[in-house]
Amino acid sequence: MNRFDVIVIGGGVNSLVTASLLGKAGKKVVVLEARDHIGGLASTQEFTPGFKCNVFNDTIKWVDSRVQDKLDLKSHGLELIQPDVVRIALDENGNHIAFHRDAEATANSIASHSKKDANAWEGFNQYIQKLAQFLEKLYALTPPTLPNIGLSEALGMRSMLGPIRKHGTRGLVDLMRVAPMMMPELVDEWFENELLRAAVSTAGIHHLSFGPFAAGTGYNLLHQHVHSDGVFHNAQFVKGGSGNLAKALQSSGNSAGVEVRTGVLVKSIDVEDGVCNGIILADGETIEADQIVSGLDPNNTFKHLVGPTNLNPNFNTQLNNIRYRGSAARIHFALNSLPEIPGVSQEQLGTIFSIAPSIEYLERAADSVKYGRLPEAPYVEFTIPSVMNSDFASDGKHVLSATVQNAPYTLRNQDWSEDLKNQLTQNVVRVLEQYLPGFSSKIETSSLLTPVDMENQFGLTEGNLNHGEMTLDQFMFMRPTASAAQYKTPIENLCLCGPGTHPGGGLHGANGFNAAREILK
């Protein structure tokens, strides 16, 4: 009989975390992935013959330690590499700022631009870490339920007691100050050098449709620094590619009896009178289960699989109001040789590079999203993953993967066409060429994923990598909506576990962990 205790829809990181945890708890679990590969946002695959890439994320900010321990990911093959230099903010004249694991080393790098800023660095770094620690506590929680919650419950005040003891009420007050800030406000308080100010601001706009002048970018910056071990712009690489995170999770799941099926497209979730009973596959097969868990985003889960006619009006309104607005594109370049970056040594090539000369540059780039047009000079962040993973390209060839922000999902008065995609690629190459002289001559081929491509190929609504923007109005008890913020949803027996839930995007697996905990309650 086609019946499981739990069906998990989607084979991304959080789905696999939830499935494995439920499997470990003795449930009979099946994971259904529409694509031929598991991993979702943690996918490593060939983009052109002979060249592999990390499709979306080259690095991982953090993996929830609860997940690592409980699922014993190390013994299932997960190896995280943290380079000494986690990021380099490129300077047109080769006087780059390198962000090191060691704050003092970072300060030294800043010193060539501004002594004053170099002196301020450690203080700033500690300040951010301190505020992020408050968020860490929140991230392990299931958000409270509306209505009848007070502000203190809404903000998870009880869990704040630990950090408050450590940092005083002032720490909490500072969190309240910084979270709603816009980047210029934050950096004005600390730094004068524009390259540094912009480099800090990039953390605030990471995968956001807004520019640095948007209030609330302070929160996004803190989100990027949760569990960052005191390292600003923290980055960890997965040995063998990000896809290995998914593989480790799958292996852990398998050992707990979880069945993972790929190439299986779920057509609909079967709901009657507000109760979910199972799912129907594209080929007509039905599978029943006591509990359905969706790792897809809320839009795909409810609008496509459940269907609006099974949603009550308020919930439907809330779903309509979730903002996705994907605006990050990915370009993978197959290169005939290793690119050179003046001022960057060979050893430092295996890190992340950002191109953001000024806050104004970032804001102007974000204006293109506002007006729905191609960015002339987008904010570009790139890595050369083949430096660390020799199997990504052979024979001295290399891969350069760039995240291009400010590529709007919705263009005004036109759709994404091959022409426009070429134009965007050219714009990115032009930007890269300024910092990597001779770059264009090394390109064998390239592959661009616009937000629309991400939607079509990976089922990400509007191409949003976080399953909903990481803004304060879509935070905690509002994520993904006020009536579905506890992983359970208004549809009985249907739960969510993806990045669309608290605490949001990233390959940390915290959503999946929290969801599993709620399901097992």
Partner: protein
């Protein structure tokens, strides 16, 4: 002698397709606002004749300000079944159903009629604009929604003689048209739809037509109806008759949950006397879960008819040296109802019924005091001083003539 004063004016309000006629007939030039339209309060200086036209002859009312929406498509019936509380599946083509609709908390948004024009085409009428709500809930359904408010004009012809008049005008006989059914016919060559519906609780019809035919239809009806006593009738007379019929009015007897700014202003169908129109056996509809829960714990409020007792009323006035002061039009000021010293309800509209010779009102009463025969005290002002006078919960409709539902054949 009579004055023949004529004038023209400017208004910022919408004019009905019948305005060219109604404005000439409106002797007091008294208008009320109705859905952004100018609507006649009464056509004669006093509304008595119009009221009795409804009950003894035939009254012609311009009801064009009603909001109307056409729902058409393969999912139309499924959609309406989800939207409203009554069972639309069993509504046959040509049938009309009166129903409320609720939000998901089971609170009434509006009430109106659903006409099944064909298998997959319906017209829904409402007191307030509802397009936003209808569209919102139609997401994912295979249907189209058209605002028909300005593209269909409507008249109500109400009263014992209304059928005779229509039989004289229409090319088809109305004799077999049953209560809450409708038919298509023509007046001369003018296509019209006639539904046997109304807001008076009497024998009556509503006539739906293209606005371009509005004046011809009006003229035909007045001409052929003259010998049957057809009388253009305004809202004052209608208001008395709808209270006699026990029919509720949005914004008077209840507040739409879409506009109520506090919870306590909202009402469930059970709390406005429409429990009979809630079909709990039906598959999921908007508000079902909440209404189930409410049924399980029992509604807090009931909506009832009350009759203010004549003898004591008269005594109060006699003590003041006056004849009983009765309202000559229907009132709409919320009036407290007591049981002992506790306020247990409030009447939302009331009138002296000229045909029943009873002082009646519609009221929200806490469920425990709402059973038939329950005795309450009604607050009354006699010569500036507040008095309490007994009132009794009675069955509605207060007035329910056999002719309302019967057919001659």
């Amino acid at each position: 002698m009579s004055y023949k004063n004529e004038f023209t004016g400017i208004t910022q309000l919408r004019l009905s397709p019948f305005f060219e006629r109604t404005s000439k007939l409106n002797e007091p030039q008294e208008w009320k606002r109705w859905g952004g339209y100018l609507a006649a309060t009464s056509y004669e200086l006093h509304h008595d004749n119009e009221y009795f036209a409804i009950r003894t002859k035939a009254a012609l009312l311009d009801i064009s300000p009603l909001k109307k929406y056409i729902i058409e498509g393969p999912d139309a019936q499924k959609f309406l079944d989800r939207l409203v509380t009554r069972n639309i599946k069993i509504c046959k083509v040509g049938q009309v159903m009166y129903t409320p609709w609720c939000d998901e908390d089971g609170k009434v948004i509006d009430d109106g009629t659903v006409q099944r024009l064909s298998e997959n085409k319906f017209r829904i009428t409402s007191a307030e604009p509802n397009l936003d709500w209808i569209q919102h809930n139609a997401a994912g359904m295979d249907l189209t929604i058209t605002d028909d408010s300005y593209t269909t004009a409507a008249l109500a012809l109400q009263g014992p003689n209304s059928r005779d008049i229509l039989n004289a005008v229409a090319s088809d006989s109305l004799d077999s048209l049953k209560f809450f059914w409708m038919m298509d016919t023509t007046f001369d060559d003018i296509p019209v739809s006639i539904s046997r519906t109304g807001y008076t609780g009497d024998l009556g019809y509503e006539i739906w037509m293209d606005p371009k035919d509005a004046l011809s239809v009006w003229d035909l009806l007045l001409e052929k109806g003259k010998s049957f006593g057809i009388t253009p009738t305004g809202l004052n007379a209608l208001d008395i008759s709808r209270i006699e019929a026990g029919l509720i009015l949005l914004d008077v007897d209840y507040v739409s949950s879409r506009h109520a700014i506090i919870e306590s202003r909202k009402s469930s169908p059970f709390e406005v006397g429409l429990g009979w129109a809630v079909k709990m056996k039906k598959k999921d509809f908007i508000g079902k879960k909440a209404l189930e829960a409410e049924l399980a714990r029992g509604p807090e409020w009931n909506f009832v008819g009350i009759e203010i007792q004549w003898h004591e009323l008269e005594q109060h006035y006699r003590k003041a040296g006056l004849a009983p002061g009765l309202p000559c039009t229907a009132w709409r000021t919320s009036t407290p109802l007591y049981k002992g010293s506790e306020q247990v309800g409030y009447a939302t509209s009331g009138a002296w019924s000229p045909i029943l010779k009873r002082y009646i009102a519609l009221a929200h009463v806490k469920s425990e005091y709402a059973s038939e025969g329950s005795e309450l005290m009604f607050e009354l002002k006699v010569e500036h001083f507040r008095k309490l006078t007994p009132a009794k919960v009675v069955k509605t409709p207060f007035f329910d003539p056999e002719r309302k539902r019967s057919c001659p054949v």
